[in-house]
Structures are given as structure tokens and as C-alpha cells.
């Protein structure tokens, strides 16, 4: 009846004349109906840019309203329940692997670096371990904003004259250092934003950087 005045028989109309509760109900539904009629909906509005979500998280984490480890992964991981579960298991396994081996694991810690933000990201740490056979750089970055492309880990000489890539980096991970690389010379840890353009050189767009300090 709220939508179509032809609906409803004589008894129903008579009832509405007498019953205040039903009449009020009908008035509310008529109002909802007429507002819905006027508000011919647009198509579903497009999603906001991911950068706004990053700003929400940043503001809340900076103000202490949200812990970094509370932050949800971006949407793709949640689009399938199994993907979410698999991602969660992956995180747990990775975290466990890192906890078991980082820093003490196979090798002894020989140097550490605090990576200072050069862009809107949070501080990160890197630990260099050596066991006589191989050296590894374990990095632990907090949530890095989603970008078009990926983040890459580098070792640089302090004057920037030399650099070597240790591969893409995401969150927490361990990166083997090639035996030919002298970490006394290549002593600066750097993480850059890299576009997926097939160009293997450094984009010069660094987000985190810090020198390795030997631990004694």
C-alpha cells in the first residue's frame, strides 16, 4: 500500500482510519518509498584509491589507536576465504621461520642496521648474519603501502658509487648475500620502490635506508 495506492481493499483502508499504529507505519513506509523513488540510484560508486586507506592506517597507528600488527591485509587477500586463510597461514609460517632463525639461527649476528624512512613509511630494521659459509641479510619492514610495482632491497657503498640488488622485498624476509660482495664496502642497506618496467637498475626512488653497524 505504501507504494501503490490501488493496493488494499475496503477493510484494509477502514482499518487504517482507526488504527494509529498501522497508519504511522504506513506513513513511514510511504516516506521511505517516495525518497527511494526520487533517489534513482547511480551505479555503485568506484572504490577510493588505496592511498586513502594507507592514510587512515597511518593516522590511527601514529595516534596509537591501532597497532601495526592489527592492520588487515589489502582487499585481494580477502576476496577468497581460502586465500585469506592461506595468507594467514603463510604469515604465521613466515613469522615462525623468522622468529626461529632471526637473529640467532644458522649464523651469528655480525651487523645491524636501522633503516630510516625517506618517504611515508615506518622505520625498519635489517640484521646481517654469517655462519662461515654464507651471509644473509634479514630485513623486517612494517606494512609498506601498496604500490604499482614492488619494493627492492639493495646494498650500496656509502658514496653511492656501487650497488648490488638482493632482490624484491616484502614484509619480513632473509636475503642471501653473494660471496663476491664485501659488506665492509657495500655497507648501506636501501629499499627502493621499483616500477614493473623490466629495468633492473635502481629507480633512485628509495623509501628506507640505513648503514650496517657491526655488532661486537
Amino acid at each position: 500500500m505504501a507504494m501503490d495506492p490501488d493496493v488494499g481493499d475496503v477493510d484494509e483502508h477502514a482499518h487504517l482510519d482507526d488504527c494509529a499504529r498501522c497508519a504511522r507505519e504506513l506513513a513511514v513506509l510511504r516516506d521511505v518509498s517516495s525518497r527511494a523513488r526520487e533517489a534513482r540510484p547511480d551505479d555503485t560508486p568506484p572504490a577510493p584509491p588505496e592511498a586513502i586507506w594507507d592514510r587512515v592506517v597511518q593516522e590511527l597507528t601514529h595516534a596509537g589507536d591501532l597497532a601495526v600488527d592489527q592492520v588487515a591485509p589489502p582487499r585481494p587477500a580477502w576476496q577468497q576465504p581460502w586465500a585469506a586463510a592461506a595468507a594467514l597461514i603463510g604469515v604465521v609460517v613466515l613469522a615462525a621461520a623468522v622468529l626461529l632463525s632471526f637473529p640467532g639461527g644458522d649464523g651469528a649476528v655480525v651487523a645491524e642496521a636501522t633503516l630510516e624512512p625517506l618517504a611515508e613509511v615506518r622505520e625498519a630494521t635489517a640484521v646481517l648474519t654469517a655462519d662461515g659459509v654464507q651471509r644473509e641479510l634479514a630485513v623486517d619492514t612494517p606494512v609498506l603501502p601498496d604500490i604499482d610495482g614492488y619494493y627492492e632491497l639493495w646494498l650500496l657503498t656509502p658514496d653511492g658509487s656501487g650497488l648490488v640488488s638482493l632482490g624484491p622485498v616484502a614484509g619480513t624476509g632473509r636475503h642471501e648475500i653473494p660471496t663476491a660482495v664485501d659488506t665492509d664496502l657495500y655497507s648501506v642497506v636501501d629499499i627502493s620502490r621499483e616500477p614493473s618496467d623490466g629495468d633492473p637498475s635502481h629507480s633512485t626512488d628509495s623509501v628506507l635506508r640505513g648503514p650496517l653497524e657491526p655488532t661486537t
Binding site: A2, M3, D4, D6, V7, V28, L29, D31, V32, S33, R35, A36, R37, E38, A39, R40, P41, D42, D43, T44, P45, P46, A47, P48, P49, I52, W53, R55, V56, E59, L60, D65, L66, Q70, V71, A72, P73, P74, R75, W78, Q79, Q80, P81, A84
Partner: protein, 197 residues
């Protein structure tokens, strides 16, 4: 008309207008929790509507994006105040957005960066924009047959009898889809004004 029925019949096959993750489906009942994944789901579900609202009311896209940020930051801080029994999540978020947008307009006016000639018109516009976004959201949550009946009644101006004839559905079925659909729309549109500091 033909186009609308075609669009809706494709909805019929999939059963949902747009796919929702399990988390999005019960984001309202879980919104008061401390799980930040729920905030993310709310952002995925409602962020676009909040942004569209901001673009409608505020002078620049940058203002609109700032509004989205403010709304979700405030929503997280005040999540314990959200009552799914009283309002849909989107109406609650748009209530916050309305306050923030009006504050922002006042500040811009004080800084003489905009001139609001007719405050009443801005408030009306805010209400109409919110209604449009809420109706779109509400329709998308309805069962496809309820959605089809309401759209034919609202936007093609058909009577219940005409809808019944058109769809080959008994009149009583059309009435019950219309009634249930309208009750569910009511939850989105007939909501108390949300106060958010």
C-alpha cells in the same frame, strides 16, 4: 526498461549484485570489535560511497579524499557507538561524513576559500546525495526478485498488478516482495540522524 530487466536477470543468475566476502557480509554485526580487518572490509564496502558523497559536497577532490580519511579514522575511534539495530553501517558513516563535510565547509568559508551562498541548499543537497547512495547500497543488498519488483515500481512507475502481469508472478507474490523489500530499504533510509563529534 528492457535494459534494466536484462541487467537484473544477470543478477538473478549470480544471486548477488556484487560479490561480498564473508567478512563484508557480516561487517555490520562485527563493526564494534577490535578487529582492524573489519574496518578494512567496511572501507572496501562503503569507501566509494563516502568518497562520492564528499565529491558532491566539497569543492575539491582533495577535500573529498581527506573526508574519507576523517570518516574512517572517526569510525574506528567510535566503533563501539555503532548499533547495527538502529542503522545500516553506510547510513552511520554518511552521518559522520555529513558532520565532517559541514565543518570543513565552515572552515573553508572562514578562510574565505569558498563562499557558501545558500546553506540550506547545501544541507538539502547533502540529504539527497546520501539518499541516492543509500538506496543504491540498499538495493544491492536485496534479494534479486525484491530488487526487481522495487525497481519496476519506483523507476518504471508500474502498479503491483502491472508488475505481476509483466513478470508472470501472482499478485500476492509481488506484494510480498514489495513489502519485504521496502522494509529492508527502511533500515537504510529511516534512520535517526547520527551524531558524531
Amino acid at each position: 526498461m528492457a535494459e534494466r530487466v536484462r541487467r537484473l536477470s544477470s543478477v538473478d543468475e549470480s544471486g548477488l549484485l556484487r560479490s561480498r566476502t564473508p567478512l563484508e557480509a557480516d561487517v555490520e554485526s562485527r563493526f564494534g570489535s577490535d578487529d582492524a580487518a573489519v574496518l578494512r572490509a567496511a572501507f572496501d564496502l562503503c569507501g566509494g560511497a563516502v568518497l562520492a558523497y564528499g565529491r558532491r559536497l566539497l569543492p575539491s577532490n582533495e577535500d573529498a579524499e581527506d573526508l574519507v580519511q576523517q570518516v574512517f579514522v572517526t569510525a574506528w575511534r567510535q566503533r563501539h557507538r555503532y548499533d547495527p539495530g538502529r542503522a545500516s553501517l553506510l547510513s552511520w558513516l554518511l552521518g559522520i561524513a555529513r558532520h565532517k563535510a559541514i565543518d570543513r565547509l565552515r572552515r573553508l568559508e572562514r578562510e574565505r576559500r569558498v563562499v557558501v551562498e545558500d546553506r540550506g541548499r547545501v544541507v538539502d543537497e547533502a540529504g539527497r546525495t546520501a539518499d541516492r547512495l543509500l538506496v543504491a547500497e540498499a538495493l544491492s543488498w536485496l534479494r534479486p526478485e525484491q530488487q526487481l519488483v522495487l525497481e519496476l515500481a519506483f523507476y518504471d512507475d508500474l502498479t503491483h498488478q502491472q508488475i505481476a502481469d509483466k513478470l508472470g508472478m501472482p499478485l500476492g507474490t509481488v506484494k510480498s516482495h514489495a513489502r519485504r523489500g521496502l522494509q529492508r530499504l527502511r533500515r537504510f533510509l529511516d534512520t535517526p540522524t547520527m551524531e558524531a563529534s
